[in-house]
């Protein structure tokens, strides 16, 4: 009896791969099951080869699966590409022109023909979903309910067509039902299915972010497009900028005016934004940037995943200024991190960079729903109730903690003067040497308090002699790998970072002291390892690196870890 099932739906772009996956995900969600759904696609709109990898379980999942129980091939090419991934007891469901082989390992089904019989060939996706549902041993009624919801806006006729199509697929697969051991029945759960991109948008909105200037770039576009459905109810504006430089400048301009704003981009766009990042740093204007990483440099692999912008994000822009860098590990954590990023960026008047990656941004994961909107949010602006020639408002007052009281322009008598040139306390250009020293020190003076805001890495088996160490979206993979290694009698723990910068050197140094460290990262050099060596006195580390643009799988980490720990 299986309670952890992985299926892959593969075919060309434009064949509805993701639609089938989403329908099945939703059926699982309605039954209280957990899903982990990953898309793998090329940088093209039609053709090529894409797949959706869907893992389902009755327990919370933290990572995708890679050994297939069910392989759904929308074209024959897909079978050739993925047949090696099938488990020995797995089944391949293959789209065919005519009905063909039908047994426990291979099922040839004419999706288009059945869709036509149901009334319209465009419903082939629903035929496929119906067939998979039958193989999973689930009742058709669950899928029918999902289809009714999904197509409600398109009218009863379309709903009926799709339900009929699903029924065709379901009936064609009769007798192939696997013993999955899932309780297939509609069940209320306290779970939520989110992608990292949507979670980032929700978190920003919950933080009262009202302005989203951006320039389209995979895989960050989903962050901003996820705002659109809420723009009817909420006072928000999404504006497509002429380039990323403009996008970040618009966000800074809005923030100057006291409105929370953010932009989202990927590595190449983030490169263009670095001058804006420096402007925010110098002018001490709160700013939130989401960098949804993809492998590079330059254009790299536009639709694939990587974690190679860590050191860049920490150092981006010339000279020095304090900033926050976060890398949440799951969609729900992305929501929380966005709220914190806005809060902390404003509290300390610094930029906050939230690192996602294509894997986290696009994967749709079931988690326990802990999302909340805060009853109140703390804002960090001083009342603008004074200011005169004799006693002007000092935007950059030299205060001990470095956080000079910030005011909103045109909200009172105090003139708010901001410049990217080095400036005196009033905000005027200053080339005075003592002033330069004082201002550099003022900006840096924020760091001790910022470091106190940083949350320690997530630890598993803290007493184990060996630690897998990672950051951001690899967490779930690392956790599952640690579990599996433990089950095989290996004493392995983990430290996974979400808060990356500024770094609490002392605490982190203590946590990692005397451990054999294995960096598990999606870049070519172990960037977090290098950072820890620089900041926390780590003198050596092993690596499990993956930089092929595809996500980690727990299997891979387990196998590599075993080679490293003998």
């Amino acid at each position: 009896m299986k309670t952890d099932v992985t299926l892959k739906i593969a075919g060309a772009a434009g064949q509805g791969i993701q639609t089938i996956g989403d329908l099945l995900s939703e059926v699982c969600h309605q039954s209280g099951l957990f899903t982990f759904s990953v898309d793998d696609f090329e940088s093209r709109v039609r053709g090529g080869h894409n797949f959706n990898l869907l893992r389902l379980s009755d327990k919370e999942l933290t990572a995708p699966g890679n050994r297939l129980d069910i392989l759904v091939c929308i074209n024959t090419n897909a079978y050739e590409l993925h047949k090696e991934e099938l488990r020995s007891d797995g089944i391949a469901i293959i789209n065919a022109d005519e009905p063909g082989t039908k047994d426990k390992t291979r099922f040839e089904i004419p999706l288009k023909k059945l869709a036509e019989e149901a009334g319209n060939k465009i419903t082939a996706n629903s035929v496929a979903a119906g067939a998979v549902l039958a193989v999973l041993g689930a009742p058709l009624s669950l899928l029918a309910d999902v289809l009714k919801k999904q197509f409600a806006a398109k009218g009863e006729k379309i709903v009926a067509l799709n339900v009929a199509a699903a029924k065709k697929g379901f009936e064609a697969a009769s007798g192939l039902g696997q013993d999955t051991g899932f309780a297939w029945e509609a069940k209320k759960s306290n779970n939520v299915v989110l992608s990292g991109a949507k979670a980032a948008a929700l978190g920003a909105l919950a933080a009262d972010c009202r302005f989203f200037p951006f320039y389209p770039m995979s895989p960050a576009t989903g962050v901003v497009s996820s705002v659109i459905p809420y723009s009817k109810q909420l006072p928000v504006v999404v504006e497509q900028a002429e380039d990323e430089i403009s996008a970040v400048m618009m966000a800074i301009g809005a923030s100057f005016a006291g409105v929370r704003a953010m932009t989202a981009t990927s590595g190449g766009g983030f490169c263009l934004m670095t001058e804006g990042l420096g402007l925010a740093g110098m002018t001490e204007t709160p700013l939130v940037i989401v960098n949804a990483q993809r492998p590079g440099p330059a254009t790299g692999l536009a639709t694939r995943t990587g974690q190679a912008d860590l050191l860049f994000s920490i150092h981006a822009s010339h000279d020095e200024f304090p900033r926050f860098v976060f890398a949440p590990g799951t969609p729900v954590e992305t929501y929380e991190t966005m709220k914190r990023a806005f809060h902390l960026a404003e509290k300390y008047q610094v930029p906050a960079i939230v690192l996602l990656d294509q894997f986290l941004a696009n994967s749709r994961v079931t988690e326990v729903n802990t999302l909340e909107v805060d009853p109140e949010i703390e804002r960090f602006y001083e009342q603008n109730n004074s200011g005169s020639d004799e006693a002007p408002y000092l935007r950059y007052a030299l205060v001990k903690d470095g956080v000079s009281p910030q005011r909103i322009p045109c909200s009172g008598p105090g003139l708010v003067r901001v410049t990217g040139n080095e400036h005196d306390p009033e905000g005027h250009i200053s080339e005075n040497a003592e002033n330069k020293i004082a201002m550099t020190q003022k900006r840096a003076a924020k760091l001790p308090a910022m470091i106190k805001e940083m949350q320690a890495p997530f630890l598993v088996n803290p007493t184990a002699p060996v630690f897998l160490v990672g950051w951001g979206s690899t967490r779930g993979n690392i956790l599952e790998a640690v579990d599996r290694l433990g089950a095989q009698g290996m004493e392995v723990g983990a430290a996974v970072f979400k808060d990356l910068w500024p770094m609490d050197r002392k605490t982190i140094g203590q946590v990692l002291d005397n451990k054999k460290l294995i960096m598990v990262e999606q870049n070519g050099s172990g960037q977090l390892g290098r950072l820890l060596a620089q900041e926390a006195g780590i003198d050596s580390f092993d690596t499990i690196l993956k930089y092929d643009g595809r996500p980690f799988f727990p299997d891979y980490i387990v196998q590599k870890a075993k080679e490293l720990v003998k």
Binding site: A206, F211, M249, G253, G276, L279, R417
Partner: protein
């Protein structure tokens, strides 16, 4: 009663003696006084260069940003709070060179701000290189065989991009310039005033007298500012004659009236509403 003096500021001016910027600054103060806008209700946003320093030299709220980037900064500020009066100061290199893409985008958005371009046809702060508005062949220490690029027609390009208010002023005509700035600020949408000015330190060709010998005022002619074709023709005049005044003015819909969520009230005017957010974001997830 607000007077130009109300904008005087103690901060030391850093321009070269004799610079046209002084007259532009003075015309700005006069225009703001005519608009009866107090310094604390005025927001100036600028780029980098001698023109970019302008907001430091008068009383106002200001964001002195980066080279070429004043317009997107101003756009963000204005989208966040449409109730603000936003005026932008840029130089020719700043706005038409480094910021060229933003110039086109700001016009197309028709964001309700006023752009004053201090156009001296030279890079002053970096000590005398040619700018996009320098004449073809102009020589400098760097362009010692003459600039190989032809002159950027800011007014023509603004018209072609669909700008609804396109004017040219001259620093040596501060009264006339004041009137242009007042009109530009009155205009609902994106307004451009390209201001010819001498650079006494580096541009030895386009001096104040060079401009004055060629300049004439459109108000003294029968020009109809609603005539786009004529405006295009005027924008081409250069070597022999230089039209000053409003070349083109036509009503359009400003950005904040094009965007549903900006029509009723400014983004900044809303309060945090936890119930609305919870109902909108967390129901039906």
């Amino acid at each position: 009663m607000i007077t130009p003096k109300d904008f005087d500021c103690k901060y030391e001016n850093k321009w070269c003696p004799g610079c046209g910027d002084f007259q532009i600054l003075s015309a700005m103060k006069s225009a703001f006084a005519q608009q009866q806008i107090p310094p604390e209700k005025l927001t100036l946003i600028s780029g980098i260069g001698q023109a970019g320093k302008t907001p430091h030299f008068l009383k106002c709220n200001m964001f002195h940003g980066l080279h070429g980037r004043a317009l997107p900064l101003a756009t963000g500020t204005k989208i966040a709070n449409n109730d603000l009066t936003v005026v932008v100061n840029c130089g020719d290199g700043d706005c038409y060179g480094e910021g060229g893409n933003h110039f086109l985008a700001a016009i197309r958005r028709n964001i309700d701000i006023t752009l004053l371009v201090h156009n001296n046809q030279i890079y002053g702060l970096t000590k005398g290189q040619t700018s996009p508005t320098s004449s073809l062949g102009m020589t400098t220490k760097l362009q010692n065989t003459g600039t190989p690029s032809s002159q950027f027609s800011a007014l023509g390009i603004a018209l072609a991009a669909g700008a609804g208010f396109v004017a040219r002023g001259l620093s040596g005509e501060p009264g006339h310039l004041t009137e242009l700035i007042v009109k530009a600020m009155d205009y609902k949408g994106f307004s451009l005033v390209d201001i010819l000015q001498p650079c006494v330190s580096f541009n030895k060709i386009n001096t104040l007298s060079w401009y004055q010998e060629r300049a004439y005022k459109l108000e003294d002619t029968d020009h109809d500012p609603q005539d786009l074709g004529k405006a295009f023709k005027l924008a081409q005049e250069w070597e022999q004659s230089l039209p000053l005044g409003v070349l083109y003015e036509a009503l359009g819909t400003p950005f904040h009236e094009r965007v549903p969520n900006l029509k009723a009230s400014a983004l900044a005017a809303h309060n945090y509403d936890s119930k609305l957010l919870a109902d909108t974001l967390l129901q039906n997830l």
